[in-house]
Symmetry: C2
Subunit: 262 residues, 2 copies
C-alpha cells in the first residue's frame, strides 16, 4: 500500500480559535471549520499509526477522531502549543501495554525531557503511566514501511523539524509547520510531494511564521500535487480565505482527512 491517510487533528495557532475573550467574526463564527484547536496531525498507514506533535487538546482530538491506537509520536519543536498533550499518550501505553516511541531532535528532546521529567527520568511502574522510548533524530528513519526524512526549518530562536513521508518509493507528504521560511534543502526534500502541508499564519508578515504570500511562493517552488495551509490565526476566515486561494491551494481544518498516494 503506497498510501497514507492524513487527519488534521488541529490547525490553529498558539491561542487556538476561538480565542478566549475575543469577539471577532472568526472567533464568533458558526462555521465549524473556523474552530481550530492547536496544530497536530495523525498519519495512518497500513502498518503504523502515528502523530506529529501532541497539542494541548490532544486528548479531545483523540476522542473526536476515535483514535484507539498509536504506535509512535514525532515532534516538530517544543513550543507549548505543540507538546502540552504529551502526557495523554499514557492511555495508548496502557491499552497496548507498550512503550511509546518518541522521535525528536536532540534540542527538542532536551526540552521535552525538561518539561516532562517525571516521564523521562522516573521508572514507570504502573502500566497506565506514560512509558517512553525516546529516539533522537539523526537522518532518515523508518516507521514500518514509511521512510521519514526530517529537515530543519528556521522558527525564530529555534529550529522546527519538518518531515517528508515516503512509501513504496513515492514522496507522499511533506509536513512543514511553524517555520519562518522553507530552506533550499527542505524545498528539495519536499519537491514534487503528493501533498504539502505548510505554515501560513496570516496575511501580514510575522518574525517566526510564514504569511500567505510567503507560503504560496514556497509552495510554487516545491510544486506538490496539492498544498494545505495550517497554523491559521483568527485573522483568517475559512470560507473567505479559501475562496481567494489559487487552484491547488487549500486551507486545512480540524478533522479534515486526506489520502495521499493510492
Amino acid at each position: 500500500m503506497s498510501s497514507l491517510e492524513l487527519t488534521f487533528l488541529g490547525t490553529g495557532t498558539s491561542h487556538g480559535i476561538p480565542v478566549i475573550g475575543c469577539d471577532c467574526p472568526v472567533c464568533l463564527s458558526q462555521d465549524p471549520r473556523d474552530t481550530r484547536t492547536r496544530s497536530s496531525i495523525l498519519i495512518k498507514t497500513a502498518d503504523k499509526h502515528f502523530v506529529v506533535d501532541t497539542s494541548p487538546e490532544f486528548r479531545l482530538q483523540c476522542l473526536r477522531e476515535g483514535i484507539t491506537r498509536l504506535d509512535a509520536a514525532l515532534f516538530t519543536h517544543p513550543h507549548t502549543d505543540h507538546i502540552m498533550g504529551f502526557d495523554d499518550m499514557r492511555r495508548f501505553c496502557e491499552m497496548e501495554d507498550r512503550m511509546m516511541p518518541v522521535y525528536a531532535t536532540t534540542a527538542t528532546m532536551e526540552q521535552l525531557r525538561n518539561t516532562f521529567r517525571y516521564a523521562f527520568d522516573t521508572p514507570q511502574p504502573w502500566k497506565n503511566y506514560l512509558r517512553l522510548d525516546p529516539q533522537i533524530l539523526g537522518g532518515a528513519f523508518d516507521l514500518g514501511e514509511t521512510r521519514i526524512v526530517p529537515v530543519e526549518l528556521p522558527h525564530g530562536k529555534i529550529n522546527s523539524t519538518g518531515f517528508v513521508f515516503h512509501r513504496g518509493g513515492r514522496k507522499l507528504l511533506a509536513y512543514f509547520t511553524d517555520c519562518a521560511l522553507v530552506t533550499e534543502e527542505a524545498m528539495e526534500a519536499a519537491h514534487g510531494a503528493d501533498i504539502l502541508v505548510l505554515d501560513a499564519l496570516r496575511e501580514t508578515p510575522h518574525p517566526t511564521h510564514m504569511n500567505f504570500e510567503q507560503a504560496i511562493a514556497a509552495a510554487k517552488v516545491i510544486a506538490p500535487g496539492k498544498t494545505y495551509f495550517l497554523h491559521l490565526c483568527h485573522d483568517i476566515s475559512h470560507a473567505v480565505k479559501q475562496s481567494q486561494l489559487p487552484e491547488g491551494f487549500h486551507l486545512a481544518y480540524d478533522g479534515l482527512k486526506i489520502i495521499a498516494g493510492y
Copy 2:
C-alpha cells in the same frame, strides 16, 4: 459581600472522562454530567476572579464558561492533570496588559518553573506572552477581601495544597482535591465551612486518593453545610452514585455553579 461563586471547571481524574478508547457505560454515557475534564475551579468574588489549577482543558473550560477576566491562579500541586493549561493564562495577561500572580508552595513552584521555564526565566517582551508574578505560599494571604488559608494534604510522594476561603469573617469554602487523607490540621482549618469540596476518586481504595468511604468519613468530621465530591474516575456514574449519597453530599460536575455565603 460575604459570598463567592464557585464554578467547577473540571471534575475528572488524570485520564478525563470519556477515557480514550474506553467503552464502559460512563465513558459512553449521554448524561453531560458524566463528561469530566480535568479538575480545577473558578472562584468569583465581588473584587477578584481566580482559579485553582489550570488543567489541560483550561482554554476550553474558559470558553465554555465565558471567562474573560482572571486576577490570579492558585496551584494545589504540579501533576500534569492540574497544570498543563498553564500557558493559556497568557490570554488574560494580554487582555488586561498585566502580570499574572501565581500562588504555590516552594515545592510546587519549583516544578512549575521546571515545566514552564520559558515563562519563569525569560523576560517576556510581548504583551500576548505569559507574564508571571510568582508568589510563594507562606501561610494565610489575601486576594482582595478574601482571606485564603493553605493547608498541606498528603498525596503519595508529594503534598498537595488545600485552600480554605474566608470572607467577612465567614468560612465559605474548603477545596481539598488530590489527597490520600485529610490531616487533623486541615480538618480544623475546614471545620464548619459552608461548602466543602473533597477528592473522592472511586469506591475501591487508592494509594494517593480518598475513596468515597474515606471522603464521607472525613466530611462528617469537618461538618460543612454541604459537601461536593470531585476528581471522579470512570467507575462513577453521576446519576447512580448521586442517588446513593446521604443528604448533604453531592457529586460535582463540569459547569456546576454554587454560591457560598450570602
